[in-house]
Each structure stands twice: as structure tokens, then as C-alpha cells.
């Protein structure tokens, strides 16, 4: 660790390292504002800043492909889905005092625990690894694809099965609501639409 750090100048960081640190601070700040702001839609928009900051970090780590996928999936789709759900249900302008669930401390403990676990894993795995910025790009599409489908194909497929299970689960949940409402007939008013997690167009 000390050797690697010394050879790269621990106390005389390069421009990329400074930029990485600054973007990291902005990302962390945006993430904290996301969970502390009292305004629901502002929270979703700060999430855009945090996710975009992570994409910039990927770019600085030369993982270009991952960075654009991050923007495409998270900023372009997940946040739009979030905003859609918010607008569909409840999105007042101004503060919503009831937005706090009272689980603040439990959430803080879980967040700190998972952050510690992630930092531990990353530090343990990449302790003295430095990216050679002058050599061939290590995070290019070709390299990412090669390592993904040569060495990591089994975890990749397992993940896709997990996502499929989540998708089927969402469909089942939204179906059940409809069936229960139909059984109760006209006595009970029909329940509102299913959980916000289900994707649009699946309830047909």
C-alpha cells in the first residue's frame, strides 16, 4: 500500500484524482440532500445529481461504457419512473411534513452498515491497484464485454434470473389486487392501482 501510494505521489495528487475527489464530495452531498429534504420531487431531482455524479466518477475511472449505461438506466429510466409515480400519487409543491416515516435511526444504521461493507470490499479488492491512464483503455466496451461474457457470465445470468423473478413477482402482485377487487364485486370500491414497482403496460 505505502509503496504503491509513494510511487504515485500520495501527497501530490494528479488532476484526475482531485477531480475524482471533488465530484465524489458533490455526489455525497447530493445523496444526503436526497434523503433529508422535505420536498418529495426535489428529492427525486437531487437523486439525478447524485446518480449523474456517480456516472462522472465512472468516466474518471475510464469505464466509459458503464458510465453511459448508468445515465441511460438510472437517470433516463428509473428517475423518470420515480417522477411518474410521484406525479401520479402525491407531488405537492412545497414541503410535505408527513414524508418522514419515523424510521430515521434504523435507516441510518442500515445505510452506515452497507456503506462500511462496500468500502471494506472495495478497499480489500483494489488495495494497491492503479489505473494506467496512458495504456489501452481498460473500461472500454470491448474490454467490459469480454470480461463480462468470459469470466463473469455465471453471475450475470444469475442476476438476469433474479430480475426475471422480480418482474414475475410484480405482475403477480398487480394481478392479485385486480382479482380480489373483482371477487368483492360492487360492494367495495375498486382498489387503486397496484404497487408502484410494476412497469407500465404490464397490467394488460
Amino acid at each position: 500500500m505505502t509503496l504503491a501510494a509513494a510511487s504515485h505521489g500520495f501527497l501530490s495528487p494528479t488532476g484526475v484524482e482531485i477531480a475524482f475527489l471533488l465530484v465524489g464530495i458533490v455526489t455525497l452531498g447530493a445523496a444526503v440532500v436526497t434523503v433529508t429534504t422535505k420536498q418529495l420531487v426535489h428529492s427525486a431531482l437531487w437523486l439525478v445529481v447524485a446518480l449523474g455524479g456517480i456516472a462522472v466518477e465512472y468516466l474518471l475511472l475510464t469505464a466509459e461504457f458503464i458510465a453511459w449505461v448508468q445515465v441511460l438506466i438510472y437517470v433516463g429510466s428509473v428517475v423518470v419512473l420515480l417522477l411518474f409515480g410521484l406525479m401520479l400519487t402525491k407531488a405537492p409543491i412545497g414541503r410535505s411534513p408527513d414524508a418522514d416515516s419515523g424510521n430515521r435511526w434504523a435507516a441510518l444504521v442500515v445505510a452506515a452498515g452497507s456503506a462500511a461493507a462496500l468500502v471494506w470490499v472495495v478497499v480489500d479488492a483494489f488495495r494497491a491497484t492503479w489505473i494506467d491512464l496512458d495504456g489501452p483503455v481498460q473500461g472500454s466496451t470491448q474490454e467490459s464485454g469480454r470480461s463480462l461474457f468470459q469470466y463473469w457470465v455465471l453471475p450475470f445470468e444469475a442476476l438476469s434470473v433474479l430480475l426475471l423473478a422480480a418482474l414475475v413477482g410484480a405482475i403477480v402482485l398487480s394481478r392479485k389486487h385486480g382479482a380480489a377487487a373483482a371477487e368483492r364485486g360492487a360492494v367495495a370500491p375498486s382498489t387503486p392501482t397496484g404497487p408502484a414497482a410494476h412497469a407500465p403496460g404490464e397490467d394488460r
Partner: protein, 321 residues
């Protein structure tokens, strides 16, 4: 030093294209729509066939009062036009217009960059719809979000088919690998891509989110002056980006027919212009789709077609390799 100069020149060229082409398309729309409807369109501004109409419009917009509704979320309301417009400027950097590296910046994952950043632009419409504190605006924002979620997937799948055919995600790389028979091979994907792109730009017949007879002007109802003009500019910049992308991905970009590649960037411009004319033509010809028709078209027609195109691409790719 020459590196810095090179980068500055490229960015300058992209910026000029960004400022000029949307206005040209806007003016063309005025004239083409007018002639298709048996009118003349603007005839006086600037003298010759009203060529300066949009300049005059710009001056008018700049003079108008910039109103923010009292109940609106002020900062987000004012930020929204920039979020809607800037992504299209960024996207133009990655689109190649000619051979020999005539591109703002050759990106390794160009297709992903372009589609990802275009998706961000829609956030601007969502922010505008929510922050206006207006029911019509909120409805417009909702429709925008639903439309984006439905049409982003077929667009991505169609683009992925081209990337599979070329074996690269880089836009100049795709053009280097282009062969003339790709046009019939990828034609279904091209149609899906263009249709989905029209829906993402909310152009007729997919202009449900801004349907003027139902919800006034959707998310942009409360905007006045320059900020409104920026939203309009974003729409026309979006047409430029969509047509240029379609011509690069599916029509061979700077490759000419019958091996006439010599004209280079003129072919790109010509194909983009023809596609933009098609966009305007569609606006004059087709009635607006209803919301359920819109969703049904995306989920039951475009996505299966795009998946079939990917399967076809994969089969042909395996057979010829």
C-alpha cells in the same frame, strides 16, 4: 497547442450547427406546412419569402415578459428549459457528419452516449410540468413520462441491432463498417427507431403530451418569453438530432448510393434534410394518437418488431461470418 485549437474548432462547428440547423428546420416547417395547406406562409420578414421570420420571432420572444406563476416552484421552473435544451447540444458532439474523423468527439460507446443523453432531455419536460403548479402542465408531464417509458425500449433495441451488425458501439465505427445491403437488412429497425424517436420528441402524431385542444400546451403551458422559445428550440434541435442519428445508423450517413462517397458530409446533410421533411409531412398529414393507442403501438407493435429485427440481425450475422 494545435490540439487545443483542434478541439476548439470542432466544438465551435458543433455549436454553429446547433444554432443554425434547428432554425432552418423551423423555417422549412413554416413554409412546407403552408404550401401543403394551400397557403403561402411567412412572406414579408426579411423580404425574400419571409426568410427572416424566425429571427423576428426570436426578437419578439426576447422582448416578452418572463413570467413565473406565483404558486410555482421557482428554481425548478426556471431551470427546466436548460435541462430540456442542453442534452441535444451534447448529443451533436458525438454524431459524425463525414469520413476521416469529421465528428466532434469519437466516443467508444457512442450509441449509448447519444441515447442516454437524449433521455435526460425529457427530464426537462417533467420538471416543467411539475413545477408550473398547473393541472394541465402536470397532465402534460405525466403523459410525457408515460410516453418516454414506452418508447425508450424499442428505440434502444433498434439501435442495438445496428450495433450488433457493425460489431461496435462507436458511431464513426458503425459508418466505417457500413455496406449498402444494410439498408434493406435493417429497414424494420430503422422504421421502429424513427417512430420511437418521433414519440420521444412528442412530434405529431405522438404529440399527446402537448395536445393543444385538450391540455393547452402540456408542460409548457405556463412558460413565456425566452424560456418558452428555448423549449421550442429544443424540439427542433431534437428533430435535427433524430434525423441525423437515423441517417447515420440506418441509411449509411456519409456513404452515397452506387459508391458515390466523394460528397461526404453533403450526403449526411441531404439524408437528414429528407428525413426532417418527412417529420414535417407527418405533422401535416396524421391525426393525433389517443393515449391508449399510443401505449398499445409501443408495447404490442414496436417492441416485438424491434426484437424480431434483433433476431434477424443475429441470424444473418452468424450465417455470413
Amino acid at each position: 497547442m494545435s490540439d487545443a485549437l483542434d478541439i476548439a474548432l470542432r466544438l465551435g462547428a458543433v455549436f454553429v450547427v446547433f444554432l443554425v440547423l434547428p432554425l432552418v428546420i423551423g423555417q422549412t416547417e413554416h413554409k412546407v406546412m403552408a404550401h401543403m395547406q394551400g397557403r403561402l406562409g411567412p412572406m414579408y420578414a426579411g423580404g425574400f419569402h419571409g426568410w427572416a421570420q424566425l429571427v423576428a420571432d426570436g426578437v419578439k420572444f426576447a422582448q416578452k415578459e418572463d413570467v413565473v406563476p406565483a404558486g410555482a416552484d421557482r428554481r425548478i421552473f426556471q431551470l427546466a428549459p436548460a435541462v430540456a435544451l442542453l442534452p441535444y447540444l451534447l448529443v451533436l458532439v458525438a454524431i459524425p457528419i463525414g469520413p476521416h474523423n469529421a465528428v466532434g468527439q469519437d466516443l467508444d460507446a457512442g450509441i449509448f452516449f447519444v441515447l442516454a443523453v437524449m433521455g435526460v432531455g425529457v427530464l426537462g419536460a417533467l420538471m416543467a410540468g411539475w413545477a408550473s403548479a398547473n393541472k394541465f402542465s402536470l397532465l402534460g408531464g405525466l403523459r410525457t413520462a408515460a410516453q418516454l417509458l414506452a418508447y425508450e425500449l424499442p428505440m434502444l433495441l433498434a439501435a442495438a441491432s445496428v450495433a450488433m451488425a457493425a460489431g461496435t458501439l462507436s458511431l464513426p465505427g458503425i459508418l466505417d463498417a457500413f455496406q449498402w445491403w444494410w439498408v434493406p437488412w435493417q429497414i424494420v429497425g430503422g422504421l421502429v427507431f424513427f417512430t420511437a424517436g418521433l414519440a420521444e420528441l412528442q412530434r405529431p402524431p405522438f404529440d399527446m403530451p402537448v395536445a393543444d385542444s385538450e391540455i393547452i400546451f402540456g408542460a409548457y403551458t405556463e412558460y413565456t418569453g425566452l424560456r418558452f422559445a428555448l423549449f421550442l428550440l429544443a424540439e427542433y434541435a431534437g428533430i435535427v438530432v433524430l434525423c441525423a442519428l437515423t441517417s447515420v445508423l440506418f441509411l449509411g450517413g456519409w456513404h452515397g448510393p452506387f459508391g458515390l462517397d466523394g460528397l461526404g458530409w453533403l450526403w449526411t446533410l441531404l439524408k437528414t434534410a429528407i428525413l426532417a421533411f418527412g417529420v414535417i409531412w407527418l405533422r401535416v398529414t396524421y391525426p393525433r394518437l389517443r393515449e391508449d393507442q399510443l401505449q398499445k403501438l409501443a408495447w404490442t407493435v414496436l417492441i416485438p418488431l424491434a426484437l424480431a429485427q434483433i433476431a434477424l440481425t443475429g441470424v444473418v450475422k452468424v450465417v455470413i461470418s
